[in-house]
């Protein structure tokens, strides 16, 4: 493709993604596409029970089956001293006691604690042989009582899941000033309280998790190809905590990854077992989850039960907020599980509002369900749902326009310190709300409602004003609240002798478009074409270290690191250019791929400067050859994207069917690198948010069986469930990173669920309505009150 003006590829350019060519033409290179010689196939034997004691495992028949190379259980794992998986974020209870983390063995040894809990692995020459043999592993279980529901897990008679955590309680944590909150409530003119459930979700990446593990016995070296959002973190945990191999003997490669949404951040049993089995059995071991395994074993998201109370003064200004949440973490603590319902949830409970007193209490509990961890938004959607349902319900009780109630309470001065840790650097919530309301023709809604009524339809409108915190966070601050890792990012910029550039980043792209956006930063700075830039990521042998991609961090943190490294490259290249052009450095500028001496016609191409750096025939005195710089960037603060969403629906009162008529989003993401990619992120996020609000509900029965274990019962959003979204952006650049970027990857999933539920509740004239608002739920909600008369 010929780019007429290189400047068009810089920051803000709406250009097609470089990586799409390979994805769209089926030439992506995913983990399961990687073939190694003499590979064998692993199939896991999983518990069919939610809770059971393993009395006996007999592998004899499986071992004797055709093609079988080995059958391994938790006993062998323990023999080889493979450690337990860990949760890397220490959360302490209000009383100061540390969270009660029980061991998470990669293969269950004595007790299985959820349906799908792996307890043995069969490795065979073919996948089908391994599956056949897995059915021959004979296990005697003593079935134990199970609990799946978070609200029931702390009951006196609930089954005890881990000895380490009495009453299945992992921690009882709190945040905020309890005394201030308690002082606010008695003085309040109005108190609005509400119970709500944030439904559990299954992540459903298109590409299932996969691993290919290779052990080189001559070098004592492991290679793991795997579906990871953060291969360096995988290596760190497998090395330092699980004890598979020291870091320099373990290479982790995350090639193309087909969607993560958080579920591929974590260090899971299956990948760990493949590595260990490769060494123990002396063969490369491959595993790719089938869809049922994905449902059973990918870390789920959300699953909160909450009681919230909001106190208002006589002018409907919020004076206090009290939130009590029980968070279901599943049967074991996944890698970051502890942080999601605490530091990624309660810290956002101020939303876009000036709330003087907030106090949140969170109990995290074990249940006999699949582990729960971060899923797109991670904590922030749950906080937004609490606040935005409360605001809408309050407005209706007060007889106020929900937009007006929000305006009365918006934060208008920045920086703003909330009572729950966060310090918002900048924002303009009025601007996003105005933009959304105007685009949604909010003022004319009543006419549309009246018209719908003539067709026998109930029309409703709902708002949601969300805030999120991205680019987590200064490492020191994260460390002080229990994070086990730093949250900076690294970058290296390698200029090749002929002037092309390789950007090495510790971020990982699994749909975000880094190969394009990171190159756009180079285009912006150096005026080079993005075709002259390649982005290298996802391989611990190539990139020294990094924290990966999650929490909408790659732009704000990863690109800031690249920016720092580019500054260093530019500075050195400029010195060389000045030297070659015999000019003062201060007179030299870099533009459109050329260094020039200001006010003269002297110029030299960037590529020639690069070549000069490597020939080293004529460099400034004392300068080292080469042109390569690295940088680490540690953010000064979170970034705070925010926005306003408006959803408009029609309900068929006869059937309970809901149709989304219009969905309008106005977001403030700060500086946009590529507006087209940003819009794609918003569209995808809204689709997932609508999925949570109307379609997706992960259901366990009372015995802990996963009822929604396939697409027969778990409803993924389809194109026909959605409308064409109206999206726009306003801009207050982030003040704490060099690029002004806030992040956009999760916003849609955070902001949209309450807008949808508020709209349906408005249509029905009800307050009580839980997600997912399926036709049956809507129908039941309608019949829980007198029906608004819909004209025939």
């Amino acid at each position: 493709m010929g780019h007429e003006k290189l400047g068009h590829e810089g920051i803000g350019a709406r250009i097609a993604r470089k990586e799409d060519r390979r994805f769209i033409t089926g030439q992506g290179n995913y983990t399961d596409d990687i073939h190694v010689k003499h590979a064998t196939y692993a199939v896991f034997v999983r518990s069919p029970h939610a809770h059971a004691r393993i009395k006996r495992i007999d592998t004899a028949r499986a071992v004797a089956a055709p093609g079988v190379i080995g059958v391994l259980t938790g006993a062998e794992l323990a023999q080889d001293k493979v450690g337990a998986l860990i949760c890397g974020w220490m959360v302490k209870s209000t009383d100061g006691s540390p969270m009660k983390m029980a061991p998470y063995p990669p293969l269950a040894n004595e007790v299985v604690r959820f349906v799908g809990n792996p307890l043995a692995v069969v490795v065979a020459e073919t996948r089908n042989q391994a599956r056949d043999a897995a059915e021959l592993v004979d296990i005697d279980y003593e079935v134990l009582p199970a609990v799946a529901d978070a609200a029931k897990a702390q009951a006196d008679d609930a089954p005890q899941i881990h000895a380490e955590a009495p009453k299945n309680t992992i921690y009882q944590w709190s945040l905020g000033d309890k005394a201030a909150m308690e002082g606010a409530f008695p003085r309040a003119a109005h108190i609005v309280d509400f119970d709500l459930v944030n439904n559990r979700l299954v992540p459903n990446a298109i590409e299932p998790r996969s691993a290919t593990a290779v052990y080189d016995s001559a070098e004592g070296h492991f290679t793991l190809y795997t579906t990871s959002q953060n291969p360096h973190l995988t290596r760190l945990v497998l090395s330092a905590f699980v004890g598979i191999a020291p870091e320099h003997k373990l290479r982790v490669v995350a090639p193309d990854v087909g969607g993560g949404f958080g579920s591929k951040i974590f260090i899971y049993p299956e990948e760990t077992v493949c590595l260990w089995a490769a060494r123990r059995l002396g063969v490369p071991v491959r595993w790719t989850a089938d869809r049922t395994e994905s449902f059973l074993s990918d870390a789920h998201g959300r699953d909160h039960v909450t009681h919230a109370e909001m106190a208002f003064d006589a002018d409907h200004k919020i004076v206090g907020l009290r939130v009590k949440t029980i968070a279901n973490l599943g049967a074991y603590m996944s890698t970051f599980s502890s942080s999601i319902p605490t530091y990624l949830y309660a810290t956002l409970l101020s939303g876009q509002y000036d709330i003087p007193a907030i106090y949140a209490e969170v109990d995290a509990v074990y249940t006999n369900t699949t582990p729960v961890d971060a899923y797109r938004g991670a904590g922030r959607p749950e906080a937004t749902y609490v606040l935005e349902r409360l605001m809408e319900i309050a407005a209706r009780r007060f007889g106020l326009d929900p937009a007006e109630l929000r305006r009365r309470n918006f934060i208008r001065k920045f920086p703003h310190q909330t009572p729950v840790i966060m310090n918002y650097d900048t924002g303009n919530y009025e601007a996003t709300l105005d933009a959304a309301l105007e685009a949604a023709h909010y003022a004319q809604f009543q006419q549309r409602r009246d018209e719908a009524k003539t067709r026998g339809k109930l029309r409703g409108i709902g708002l949601s004003c969300y805030i999120e915190a991205c680019g987590l966070a200064p490492s020191q601050a994260a460390g002080s609240i229990g994070a086990g890792v730093g949250l900076w990012e690294s970058a290296e910029v390698r200029v090749n002798p002929a002037g092309t550039i390789e950007i090495l980043t510790g971020c990982h792209s699994h749909g975000q478009g880094h190969e394009t956006t990171f190159a756009q930063l180079v285009a912006e700075r150096f005026g080079l074409s993005i075709d002259q830039v390649s982005v290298v990521h996802g391989d611990t042998d190539k990139v020294q270290f990094g924290m990966g991609t999650y929490g909408s961090r790659s732009g704000a943190v990863g690109m800031s690191a690249v920016s720092k490294a580019l500054d260093r490259v530019a500075a050195k290249a400029k010195r060389i250019a000045a030297h070659l052009m015999e000019a003062a450095e201060s007179d030299v500028e870099l533009k459109d791929g050329e260094f020039s001496v200001v006010g003269t016609d002297k110029k030299i191409a960037f590529a020639n400067v690069a070549l000069a750096a490597y020939t080293a025939h004529n460099l400034p005195g004392g300068m080292e050859p080469g042109l390569k710089e690295g940088a680490f960037y540690d953010p000064l603060n979170f970034t705070f994207p925010a926005g306003a969403y408006v959803c408009e629906v029609e309900v068929d009162p006869k059937s309970g069917e809901v149709e989304i008529i219009q969905f309008t989003a106005a977001d403030d993401f700060g500086v946009l690198v590529n507006p087209m990619i940003v819009e794609g992120q918003v569209h995808g996020g809204i689709a997932q948010g609508i999925g949570q609000a109307m379609l997706e509900g992960c259901v366990y029965d009372a015995d802990g069986q996963l009822v929604t274990a396939s697409y027969i019962d778990y409803t993924m959003p389809r194109a026909s469930d959605l409308v064409s979204f109206t999206v726009s952006t306003t801009q207050t650049p982030c003040t704490t990173n060099p690029l002004g970027i806030k992040g956009c990857g999760e916003a849609g999933a955070i902001g949209s669920p309450p807008a949808v539920i508020n709209a349906i509740a408005d249509a029905l004239g009800v307050e009580l309505l839980d997600m997912p608002a399926t036709p049956q739920r809507v129908w039941k909600a309608m019949h829980s009150r007198a029906l608004p008369a819909a004209a025939e």
Partner: protein, 270 residues
């Protein structure tokens, strides 16, 4: 899937012989159920006998007062065929809402009704139109064909060859898809036959397709949306799952009967 032996039959007679020789074998037509459950290892046929391509089972034709569909006719062909759309628009409407395009281009009517999934669409048309199911052995009236959950009157070794639908005065189908699977949570086929009798067949709501006699009576006196909607259907014996309680299904049956009537009225006037 478990290992099996695949045999592509070249004639109907050979397929029958193979079924006889391999009592643990199963017929494969469009494979839209069989292949899925084989992949999940829920069934283990010794042999898979492919009849999906047999010309003897192919074809859409009009013979006198009947529309004939070969058992191997794909849903997509029924949905788009001009004879079907002209003679029995309700049948084309039904075929158009089965599964997704991939399913419609592979799945066959014979496979669907032989499987008799309680939430499949086709049984509603077969029963609602009072069709006759022709097999390698005999002809079976629709009222006798669907006998229970995944159960039919078919005997071992018997192969459906074609289905003969009486061309009605008017007919329509309305389906409330189960949100996840898009099978019928409730699907209602309404037909007014040439003799003036009205038949209403409901799929998705019970153990197998059944006739809603209350709605039939109401429509017999007034073939209108309002007449259908006024009927109250009992929730007794209706299916219950996470997507719909028996009460919700009972509520939906007259609502969707009304929509089926609306569709029938519209296609008859169009």
């Amino acid at each position: 899937m478990y290992e099996t032996t695949y045999i592509r039959a070249s004639t109907l007679a050979q397929a029958q012989q193979l079924l006889h020789d391999h009592p643990e074998g199963q017929l494969l037509a469009g494979g839209q159920t069989l292949v899925s459950i084989m992949k999940l290892r829920l069934t283990r046929p010794s042999h898979v006998i492919d009849i999906g391509h047999l010309s003897e089972l192919d074809g859409i034709s009009v013979e006198g007062s009947h529309l004939i569909l070969g058992a191997g006719t794909r849903h997509a062909d029924v949905a788009t065929n001009e004879q079907v759309r002209g003679r029995i628009p309700g049948l084309a409407q039904l075929a158009q809402v089965i599964g997704d395009p991939a399913v419609r281009h592979m799945g066959t009517i014979g496979g669907s009704i032989a499987n008799n999934d309680p939430a499949a669409d086709y049984p509603a048309a077969v029963l609602g139109l009072r069709a006759t199911v022709h097999t390698s052995h005999r002809a079976i009236a629709a009222d006798d064909f669907f006998t229970g959950l995944f159960e039919t009157a078919l005997q071992p070794g018997e192969i459906i060859t074609r289905v003969a639908f009486p061309i009605p005065r008017r007919s329509g189908y309305a389906k409330f898809p189960q949100p996840a699977s898009r099978f019928a949570l409730v699907g209602v086929f309404v037909a007014e036959l040439m003799d003036g009798s009205v038949r209403v067949a409901v799929t998705g709501a019970g153990s197998h397709v059944f006739r809603a006699s209350g709605i039939e009576t109401a429509l017999q006196s007034s073939f209108s949306v309002a007449a259908a909607e006024q009927v109250t259907v009992s929730a007794e014996d209706l299916n219950s799952d996470i997507h719909a309680s028996p009460e919700y299904r009972a509520h939906l049956i007259p609502v969707f009967a009304g929509r089926a009537v609306a569709a029938a009225l519209q296609s008859a006037s169009g």
